[in-house]
């Protein structure tokens, strides 16, 4: 039992080194996302702070299958809004990065079951985010 205990600990130590890389990747992604959002947000606030908030936000909405190209057509003449949207999309990609990193982690450890499981999760995420762009 003592051997088994330390074997688990060794694996945990090895995992921790790989997880550290994952942590760095995530932090970079989050930082970039927040940078874009803050930059866009502050510029927008500077230009529009005293305006009254758009009424359409407060009205009852029905489901509307708007493509992201259309959102860009409507709003992106204002670059600050474009920056915010880009930041949001980068943010939505961070869990994707995380799952991809996990898949790589498991591939390195030759843990085939989990490579497959990670691929399944990745596929679902790509389907969801990709649905906007198709």
């Amino acid at each position: 039992m003592k051997e088994w205990g330390s074997a688990m600990h060794r694996q945990t130590k090895r995992n921790t080194a790989l997880e550290l890389t994952l942590y760095r990747l995530l932090t970079i992604g989050l930082f970039l996302s927040l940078l874009a959002i803050c930059a866009g947000g502050l510029v927008f606030l500077w230009n529009h702070s005293q305006e009254i908030v758009n009424d359409s936000l407060f009205q009852e909405k029905t489901v509307d299958a708007t493509k992201i190209e259309k959102i860009f057509e409507m709003d992106v003449s204002d670059r600050s809004i474009a920056a915010m949207l880009i930041g949001i999309i980068i943010l939505m990609l961070t869990p994707l990065i995380r799952v991809l990193s996990c898949a790589i982690l498991f591939a390195v450890e030759r843990d085939l079951i989990y490579v497959v499981l990670s691929a399944v999760v990745l596929a679902v995420l790509l389907f969801s985010i990709g649905s906007t762009f198709i």
Binding site: H9, L30, S128
Partner: protein, 274 residues
Amino acid sequence: MTVLATVLILFSGSLLAGFLGALSGLGGGIVVIPLLTLGLGIDIHYAIGTSLVAVIATSTASSCAYIKDGYTNIRIGILLETATTLGAICGVAVASQMPATMLSLLFGCFLIYCTISSLLPTKTTSAAFSSDRLALALNLPSTYPTKHSWQGYAVHHVPLSYFIMLVAGGLSGILGIGSGALKVVALDRVMGLPFKVSTTTSNFMIGVTATASAGLYLKMGYIDPIITSPVVVGITCGSFIGARLLPHVSTNVLRQLFACLIFVIGLQMIGKIL
């Protein structure tokens, strides 16, 4: 209301939401939606879109801290995420068919039940060699850091947890939450993980679940950058502060905090119907 005033309210509310969320394993989306709908009168579809993005932010921000500390169990996370993401896609798909009021009521009742059960005496953590066969086959048991060393723990009831995660994913798609409450309860009570492993692994998972839903909400045009941005920034700052505090807070305090939070949420959900 001016843009400035709205942004300030959203930012400060989200700051609190992020702080509480990081400590309790919830996404903070549960605080964000009432803030937007009840507090500011914003249409619920935009609130859900914003909430989903906010949950992703909380999850990523908290995970950055937790992955380093070694609490999160990635294998359990990935395994159960196959359930939550599929559930989320189905959830968004059936969202138009199902009456939200019915779901709110069920969810509220479930949370009340969870509050009661989470206040029951804590179980002792069993050593890893008492895990279920399936858990061992899938290499799920692991260790987590305590003050002196790495403590092993066991994993149980994998199929039941998987089923609960399907439901959790569905709820995420319909209600716009990360389903953190349900995930922590499943990991803690059903799988039998140490509480801090449950909350951190839940944090890891809710971001993925929310992304699955958020992608479709983006397609539908329900993510408005003007309200989403201050919420994201606020909730991230709150999460970082909360995540830094986690290793220094006792498990009992976390349990009580969690119990209070989900009780209030449960009442809110039921109150919406009446």
